[in-house]
Point group: C2
Chain length 337, copies 2
DNA sequence: GTGAAAGCGCTAACAG
DNA sequence: CTGTTAGCGCTTTCAC
């Protein structure tokens, strides 16, 4: 019917001052129980909803967390979001979510916009922005938590998977199973996590006395399609040079590889072993089930919120690194000597 | 360093009134080109970002679309989000996303909160709220678009898949392939789309002269797990009563069924045919690839935005129903006579 | 073409 | 305990 009622409307009807209404609704003890209850009842009756815009304007910030992510349609991101969502809801915070399609400029633009909404703080997933960013970060007084990217600054915090360790763990497992030629299917090269996983891969190789070979790194972007293409690359290698195993940047591309292998008549793991990364829900039900390194995504999301809220209370916050475990399933074969 | 500069700061430095700055930044022709450019340059230099909170307060609304969804970790939702995201970004709108975990009360709470942020309008995915909702809807003056749920009201619009048709199409295909006992693995019973797909299933059955059997509807919730459990139900049926095909509420549960079948040594499609719904990215790479009815998710998201923006311009908007096509892959077998 | 003033809905001193 | 006042950052009449 009429417009949404404001605190003034309530005040007029109740015959009190707007400030009294404000206090009553905030359950301030500075207003008598009687009027407090009377006003609250009235507010309920009128279907009053506070204008968060006005509130955030006067308070200078609002119980909203800005979240920025390169995409929303990736199962790894979805899972982080879920942890993030639950934790923030429990803490009484809403989320303003923006996605960047992996575009660094747009990421920066989104930071500005969200700040314009007076969000209390920001959580940025898999940031793709580099360099020039630092400058902006230095000017911001709201806390910012990066998930799986590493940035530094006054109010900047990090929650990340120990990707170097994960990459090492994955490669190490392949080596233990007797593999000697291990290809690495790469991820988005602008992302921090790709670089770290690649470093772990290389370290494991070198620790085993093998040398890192550039031509065993296949370009990719973490998509299903990248996995499929990787299989064709493999098919085209001459027999002696053909790797016996693939370590994939993520499960999604590993799953693509699995599917294409099946279609091309390549048996996994007998002809080729495949290792993923993330442990997305689908990894459990692929054929064969995918051996992978778990990423504690839910926890990543939850801890990002915890860190942000802690920072908001001006308590000290330290960077957090999470190590995932190796999940052994059926896509890696033990090689004969 | 200092706080974010406001329009006042710029005004002081430029030696003009705040209102002039406001106009200059809005590119109003009512301010001379010279000052306009001078102020815009200054704003850029000072790294000025408008307070959207303040702006939305005075304007009574903001270029933000509130989006409500039961979850963010479902690939179908993710895909709708993607369409939604692209379309809204292109139109210069941001999104305030909230999720409800499928809880109807929380859905209503979210509607209120988002409205408190002065969002320009709302898009609600797979609404789970019923009845009492109507009352609330009637009071709201902002446009609301429901995706895959049907609600009515003054400023209420719908964009939906023609689920009845889809259910019919799926079942019809199974019938054409010679199946006579077709089980239906159900979805969330509170959702509108479940009911419609079930109706299509029933209609196809009856058109073929078969009767709808209640005991062939297996309870489920559209999760991977529901699919797995359905397979066990099937395994426990006596031979003569065992269906030769499953029509699953969605791909996710169909995929779960596929996986469990493989593990239990049940051959799909030789022993059992499986039909999904949605055509999520994974459906293409499952083993065997999943026959399904496509849901034009991307389009659903895009059209939801278009409808909302059209309503915002006070132009007439009509409800939209999208029909997806049958995607024949390899999980359904043609039965011998 | 530019400035002064009012007000969006709310909270937070400061009075009484 | 309650009312009055001021102001958050911005847009928008209404004057000049």
């Amino acid at each position: 019917m009429s417009q949404r009622p404001s605190i003034k409307d309530i005040a007029r009807i109740a015959g009190v001052a707007p400030s009294t209404v404000s206090r009553a609704l905030a359950d301030s003890p500075r207003v008598s129980l009687a009027t407090r209850e009377r006003i609250q009842a009235l507010a309920r009756e009128l279907d009053y909803t506070p204008s968060l815009a006005a509130r955030s304007l006067v308070m200078g910030s609002s119980p909203v967390i800005g979240v920025i992510s390169p995409t929303l349609s990736d199962p790894y991101i979805a899972s982080v979001m879920k942890g993030l969502e639950e934790a923030s809801h429990q803490a009484g915070y809403q989320r303003l979510v923006a996605s960047t399609q992996g575009d660094a400029e747009r990421e920066i633009e989104m930071v500005r916009m969200l700040l314009g909404h007076n969000v209390g703080g920001l959580i940025i997933l898999s940031s793709r922005a580099q360099g020039a960013y630092q400058e902006l970060l230095a000017q911001i007084s709201e806390p910012i938590v990066f998930v799986n990217a590493l940035h530094t600054g006054e109010h900047v915090y990090n929650v990340a998977t120990d990707n170097e360790h994960g990459g090492w763990l994955a490669t190490q497992h392949l080596l233990t199973q007797g593999h000697r030629r291990i290809a690495y299917l790469a991820g988005p090269t602008r992302g921090r996590s790709y670089v770290a996983r690649a470093a772990g891969y290389r370290r494991a190789l070198e620790e085993a006395g093998l040398s890192f070979e550039r031509q065993l790194v296949i370009p990719g972007d973490g998509s299903i399609r990248a996995g499929r293409e990787a299989l064709h690359w493999w098919l085209n290698q001459p027999d002696e040079q053909r790797p016996t195993a693939f370590f994939c940047y993520n499960d999604l591309s590993a799953l693509g590889l699995l599917s294409e292998a099946h279609q091309q008549g390549v048996n996994i793991p007998d002809d080729l072993s495949v290792m993923g990364f993330d442990n997305v829900p689908m990894a459990k039900i692929s054929i064969p089930p995918l051996t992978t390194v778990e990423q504690r995504t839910h926890e990543l999301g939850r801890l990002a919120v915890v860190s942000l809220l802690t920072a908001l209370e001006n308590k000290p916050v330290t960077d957090i690194f999470l190590r995932g475990e190796l999940i052994v399933r059926a896509s890696v074969k033990r090689m004969e000597e």
